[in-house]
Each structure stands twice: as C-alpha cells, then as structure tokens.
C-alpha cells in the first residue's frame, strides 16, 4: 500500500484549468520526482498535497485512508510538509525560533527558549547543519537556510517531504550537500517528493519519476527507464527539434553594443557583448548570476554604474525605462503579473500603454488609434480573448504574455529583451511565443532573452552568452551548443572568451 496517494485531482483558476485529473502515488522511503514543463501543474499539485490549496475534485489517501487536507495545518498533522521554492523563514529570528515557529514549547505560558534551543539541535543534526540554534537566519547562506526549512519540516514529524525546485538558488556544492541529506532522509524512511526541471538531478536522485504535461499525467518512469530523452519526450510530448521553430537568421548590422557595463548588483564586474539585428541571443546562467540585472540596467530600471551602450551605433545612457524606450529598447520583464501587465485593466489599455505618448494628440488619447492598435495586435499575436475590453486577469498566462509582447511590438523596438519569456505558461502557448520570437527576428529585431530552461536556451538561440556570478564567462555559437558546454560556463568551471 502506498503511503500517499492522490486520485484524479482537478483544480481550476480563473482562466486556466491547472489540473485535469492528476494521480500520483508515493511509497514509504522513496524519492519520487515530479517533472514537467512550467505550467504543467507541478506546483498546483504540490500545493494541494500540502494543504495550501484545495482540489476541486479528486481524493487524497494517506495509508489507504481518505483524508481531507483543507489547510497547511491539516497537512502537517497528517505528516506532509512542503518546502517552498522561495524559502519561508522569518530571517529576523534565530534558527531554533524558526524551526518551532507556531509550535513553541511553553512553560508557564511563556516561551521555553532553553528547551527550544536544546531540541533544535537534534533536527539540525539530522540535516547535517552545523550552526548554533541561536544563529540569526539572516546570517546564513541560502543553502543553509534551506536545511533549516528541512529541519523545521522534520520537527513536525513529517513523513512526506515535498520539495519544490530546491536547488534553483543553490550553488553546486550546496546542491551536492542537499542530495546527501535527501538520501539520509530516505534511508530513515522519509518519503521525498522532489519537483524539478533539472533533469540531471532527477536522474541522480529519483527512484521513480512522474511526468505531468498540461495538467495531466503523461507517464511514469521507473529507475531503470529514466533517461534524459525519455523524460523530455514525456514532458513536451514530441521531439524537441519539432518543438522549437528555430530557423537560420540573416544577422544584420550591430543593433546593440554593450561595453564594460557595470550593474549595481555586480559593480566590480564588467560585461561586454553585442547583438545584431535579426539575431536571437540567449543569456544563460544560474539563478543569481546577474542576467536579469544586466537587462534591467540596459532598460534603465536600475541604471548602469558605468560602461557604454550603443543602439544602432548611437550612444545612449538610459536612466529610466522611458529613456530606454526612446532609444529603441523594450523589455518583457521576468515577473509578468507584477511588472508586465496591469491585471485589472482591459487588453486594449494594456496593449496601448507604451505607445500612448507617441500616438497622443496634444496630450489627448487617440482613441481610434488605440482601438485599431489593440485589434491589430489581438489578431497578429493570436491573443485569445473575447474582446479587447476583457480584463487581462482573466486571460491565461500565455495570452497575458502575448499582451505584454504586443505592447512592445506597438512601438517597434530595435532591440527586444525578454526575461524568462515562457515562465508559467502552458506548452502550446510557449511554442506560440517562440514563433513570435522567430517572426520578429526575421523582421530584423535584435532579441536578447534570459532563460533558466536549458531546452529553451538550446532550442531558440543563434548564439548563447553565459554568465556566472556577475561575469560573462563565455559565448557559444549555435553549432557549439550543448547542455554540458552551457553548464560548464554557468557554474564557472570554465571560461571561453571567443568574443
């Protein structure tokens, strides 16, 4: 009998059916990897198992008995703990206080700090974290903080530990240490549900793999069946070469030239590169490598500390997005909902936002132009919406992203930056975004995109720039592209400066 079983769970959000009947089993003392593209439903499934959200229908069984997980508290009481991708620690408190947060041992109604410190020790030992329980969490490295989270989960007597992309912000060494801890826990009979899209890790750790695609089970792989190709096939449902619509591009003149750019995030490192009109260049690297920061500096959100930027040969120094836009730059930002779209505003007003200034008539809105523009973008970008009066909130992630793209295409930029352009959108919409990138490149737009998805970097780039800890560690032309080559540069193991 499996320890934990989920039977045909469904879950819908406004505008998107996240889960369309997903099932999953977890045996005692195994590492089950759950993989899938962004938007496949992994995170929703895990949130349901951890009681953060409740399913619309379906059943969850623990030890063969049906359980209702209506809150995180219910899930913890049943022995299921979730460790979020973004850590949820109170970093102004010490390690012990975090481990026992909400369950503090008490004495005469007051917190029993001494006992808390004492008992914290055993859980820290269990995860191999050698820090004093009274250390402030804010002074710990990210990898250590994650171990505190795991210790916290163990302290609730968790039997199933769900880990959502646990290595996304860890260094290679921290990740290795985490794998060791996971194996220890498994040996002690704890079950681990491991969510990742890093297939290398999955191959290394998993006893079994469950693959999700578009909110449905697309297959299970046993330990023996796990291979890179098998996993990818189940994830995308077809061969990769067909998935990425990459065609050769005619690279034109240099559209963007960046020399010795210094960003506020990494003031000691200088970054130089150039992009030609009609080129699609990928910017790869681990989380925290400084890729987004480069885009933000080029786009004037966090102005550069030094260096020169030339757009079409003309030197510019964008101190604000407004200035960057005037110079011919556009940015599809990383966080679509916070920085990209105005969720409560209609499609029309989102699409026109960046071009209002250009189309104005002495300060007044040009409403006819606005209507034409949004109608044009809706058809050109194939945005699925009942009308241009529809509030963006109710569109799917992919269509929201198209709205953001449409906003920028309206001002006809020379250079388009895209930061994680397909994060959190479903597979079909992804491919549409790729096609749009292709079309734009053929129209002569220079494209620089940041992505943490290796497949996307390999599939879409004419050329890849790789960053590691604020430095540009290398550049790979398409014919030299491979996962190994990119990871080598991204982890700082090698530098190749062909540029």
């Amino acid at each position: 009998m499996p320890l934990l079983e989920a039977r045909s769970l469904t879950k819908s959000f406004p505008g998107v059916r996240a889960l369309k009947g997903v099932s999953l089993t977890v045996q005692q003392g195994e590492v089950l990897a759950v993989i899938g593209e962004n938007g496949a439903g992994k995170s929703t499934l895990m949130k349901i198992l951890a009681g953060v959200q409740t399913a619309d229908s379906g059943e969850i069984l623990l030890d063969g008995r049906s359980v209702a997980l209506r809150s995180v508290y219910d899930a913890l009481a049943s022995g299921i703990a979730l460790i979020h991708q973004e850590l949820n620690l109170a970093d102004n408190l010490d390690v012990a206080a975090n481990i026992f947060l909400g369950r503090e041992p008490r004495r005469f109604g007051l917190m029993d700090t001494a006992r808390m410190q004492r008992e914290a020790r055993q859980f820290l030992d269990a995860v191999g974290l050698d820090v004093k329980p009274d250390t402030l969490v804010s002074t710990l490295a990210i990898g250590q903080q994650q171990l505190v989270e795991i210790a916290k989960a163990l302290s609730t007597r968790a039997r199933v530990l769900i880990m959502d992309e646990p290595t996304s912000s860890l260094s290679a060494r921290e990740a290795d240490n985490l794998f060791k801890v996971i194996r220890d826990l498994r040996a002690r009979g704890v079950s681990i549900v491991y969510i990742s899209h890093r297939l290398g890790e999955v191959k290394l750790l998993a006893d079994r793999v469950t693959v999700l695609r578009d909110g449905e089970n697309s297959g299970d792989l046993s330990r023996e069946e796990v291979s890179h190709a098998a996993m990818v096939k189940l994830m995308v449902g077809r061969d990769l070469s067909q998935f990425y619509p990459h065609t050769p591009h005619q690279a034109g003149e240099v559209a963007l030239q960046v020399e010795r750019l210094r960003t506020p995030a990494h003031p000691r490192h200088e970054v130089s590169f150039q992009i030609r009109a009609g080129e699609i260049v990928g910017l790869a690297g681990l989380v925290g490598a400084g890729r987004t920061e480069v885009l933000l500096s080029l786009f004037g959100v966090t102005p550069a500390l030094g260096g020169t930027i030339r757009v079409g040969g003309r030197e510019v120094s964008p101190r604000s997005p407004q200035a960057a836009i005037e110079a011919g730059l556009a940015l599809v930002p990383e966080d679509r909902k916070k920085q990209g779209v105005l969720l409560e505003m209609p499609v029309r007003e989102n699409v026109s936002l960046a071009s209002l200034r250009r189309d104005q008539r002495g300060g007044f809105l040009n409403q006819r132009r606005e209507t034409e523009l949004s109608a044009g973008m809706i058809s050109a970008m194939r945005i699925k919406t009942p009308s241009d009066r529809q509030v963006v909130q109710f569109l799917s992630g992919g269509n929201q992203q198209k709205v953001v793209l449409g906003k920028w295409l309206a001002i006809q930029p020379r250079v388009l930056f895209l930061d994680e352009p397909t994060r959190g959108i479903d597979v079909g919409a992804k491919q549409e975004i790729y096609k749009l990138m292709e079309e734009l490149a053929h129209q002569g737009v220079a494209i620089l995109f940041v992505s943490s998805e290796m497949e996307e970097i390999l599939g879409m780039s004419d050329r890849v720039l790789v960053m590691h800890e604020g430095r540009l560690t290398g550049e790979l032309p398409r014919h030299e592209l491979s996962e190994e080559a990119v990871m080598h540069l991204a982890t700082g193991l090698a530098t190749s400066l062909t540029a």
Binding site: P321, L342, L365, F394, K407
Partner: protein, 327 residues
C-alpha cells in the same frame, strides 16, 4: 457605470425618504443650500480622487482649507495685501504643499499617510500661529468676491429656486477633471500607475512625476475649496475651520467608486458621493433633530455601501471566471 447607478439610486432613495419625512427638506432654501454645500465639498472630493486613483491618500485637506481659508482674509484685512497678491499667495502655497507632499512621497519614498498626517497637524498649527487663534473674516468688504460662493443665478420662469454660484465652479472643475482623467494620456497614466506602479514604470511612464502631479492637483483644489468655503461663511476660526473635511472628501470619493487600492475613479461618482453624504447630514438634522448622531449615521451608510460594493465585486469576479472557464 453600474456602480454609479447603484450610488445614484441610493441618493434618490434617501432624497425621496427625506421629502416624505420632512416638509422643510423640499423648501427652495434648503435645496439651494444643499447644492451649494455639495459644490463646495465636491471640489475637494475631486481633488482627493486624483490622489486615491494613484493608490495614495491625502489627510491634510482640511488643514489646507484652514490655512488658505484663514490666510486669505488675514492677508486682505489684517495685512492689507491687494487682492491679486493675496490670491497669488494662497495659490502658490496650495500648489507648493502638493509639490512638497509629492516629492516626499516619491523621492524619499515616505508613506502618503504619514506625510499628509503631518501636514494635517502642521498647516492648522501654522494657521493658528499667524492668526493668533483669532477669528478672521471679510466683515462687510469684498462683496464682489463673495459672489463666487454666495451668488445665485436665477432660472427663467422658476420661482423660489436659483442656482448657487459654486455649482458653476464645480461643473467647470468637474468637466476639466473628467476630461483630464478619461481623455488624456496623463489621466491614463494615473490610472495605470494606481493599478500597478511597477508595470507602469516598466512601460515607460514617469511614475514619480505623475504621482507628484496627483498631489499637486489635490492640494490645489483643497486650496480652491478653502477660498470658496471662507467666502461662503464670511469668517473663519483657525481652531476648527475645515476640521474633518478631508474625511468627507475621502468618504465621498470612495462612495463614488474610487478604490483605495488605486486605479479606479469616477469624477461624476465623487459628486454623487458628496451629495449623498450631505443629504444624509441634512436628513439627520431635519428628521431626527439630533445632529449629534450625524457621524454615526454617515459612518454606517458608508460602511454598508463599501461592503455591498465589495460583495458585488466578488460575485462579478466569480461569474466572470466561471464564464472564462466555460469557453
């Protein structure tokens, strides 16, 4: 628009009730008076609507009214300034206050609540200082100027009712404000940044400048309100002139459809909201003869209004989501 119909319906209902319950509510004198007061409060309500649209708040309005409302007669009668000089001075002060609020909020990233709360204390305190807490007023002078607030425009063939002059001021201010908010790119920028400041900034909008503009509009209209209010009553006591007026303005804006979360606002709604509050006040006085419970009644009605609005909104979101899913 649906929202406006709701509040307008409520206004009508309260008016009908008042007409039934009180003889004197219907008198031409009372209606004129209500319209005049609605116009005066409407001007400051429109001002604060611009700030609320950006997701901010201005608590200093009542004190700006006090500063300007006491400052103008003080400059004219005590300091013997010329009228143009005094008007210029109060304009500069009003605009300057908004500019200062805006700069503190955008450049130093202080919270609007704190900045304008300090303003609330500061401007009244200053006024009480320079006037020595003495009542200031126009006495028998400045009759021409006072027409702006006390004048009436007769309607042909209508007896016993004339349009109060401030109503004309309100209509002019409201039309300009509505065109600015709904028909210019700057109005759109204000609405956009109120919805999502980051996304607006990433779209190339100078969000700092637009926010400052909103506070300048608010203080300027508060200053205009101060002038109109003091012309209306002829004399002002620094200790309580304009006291709590910001709360009337904010309540009217919220009742009229401005969301305190920002990004939503209707000028017509603000005027209807203002009228509703003032009619309620009037009704409480006329019908119950207990004007001391006025605030309790107004508070209850506003609370009920926003609760109803929130429930309707939730219902609409659910229905829309269900419809989107069905497609």
């Amino acid at each position: 628009m649906k929202k406006l119909l709701g509040i307008f319906g409520l206004l009508l209902a309260v008016c009908l009730f008042a007409m039934w319950a009180s003889e004197s509510f219907r008198s031409g004198y009372n209606v004129e008076n209500l319209i005049r007061r609605t116009a005066l409060f409407g001007v400051i309500g429109i001002g604060v609507a611009f700030v609320i649209v950006t997701g901010g708040i201005d608590l200093s309005i009542g004190s700006v009214i006090c500063l300007v409302g006491c400052g103008l007669p003080w400059l004219l009668t005590v300091q013997k300034w010329s009228l143009p000089a005094a008007l210029l001075a109060v304009t500069v002060v009003s605009v300057g206050i908004g500019l200062m609020h805006g700069l503190l909020i955008t450049k130093l990233r202080l919270q609007p609540f704190i900045v304008t709360l300090c303003g609330l204390m500061l401007y009244r305190g200053i006024t009480r200082g320079f006037t020595g807490d003495q009542t200031v007023g126009f006495g028998d002078g400045f009759k021409g100027l006072r027409v702006l607030s006390t004048g009436k425009i007769p309607i042909p063939f209508v007896q016993g009712f004339e349009i109060p002059a401030p109503w004309v001021v309100l209509v002019i201010v409201a039309v300009i404000a509505a065109i600015f908010l709904n028909r210019t790119i700057y109005g759109r920028y204000l609405l956009a940044l109120g919805r999502n400041e980051d996304a607006a900034r990433y779209s190339g909008i100078n969000t700092g400048a637009m926010t400052i503009l909103a506070y300048v509009i608010c203080s300027t209209l508060a200053g205009l309100g101060g002038v109109l209010f003091v012309l209306d009553v002829n004399s002002a006591q620094p200790v309580d002139f304009g006291n709590f007026y910001e709360l009337y303005a904010i309540a009217a804006a919220v009742l009229g459809g401005c969301s305190l979360r920002g990004g939503e606002g209707s000028i017509l709604g603000v005027i209807i909201g203002t009228a509703l509050i003032l009619v309620l006040r009037n009704v409480v006085t006329l019908v119950t003869n207990h004007s001391n419970i006025e605030f309790a009644i107004i508070g209850t009605v506003i609370l009920a209004g926003v609760i109803a609005d929130e429930l309707v909104k939730r219902y609409a979101v659910k229905r829309r989501a269900a419809r989107a899913l069905a497609e």
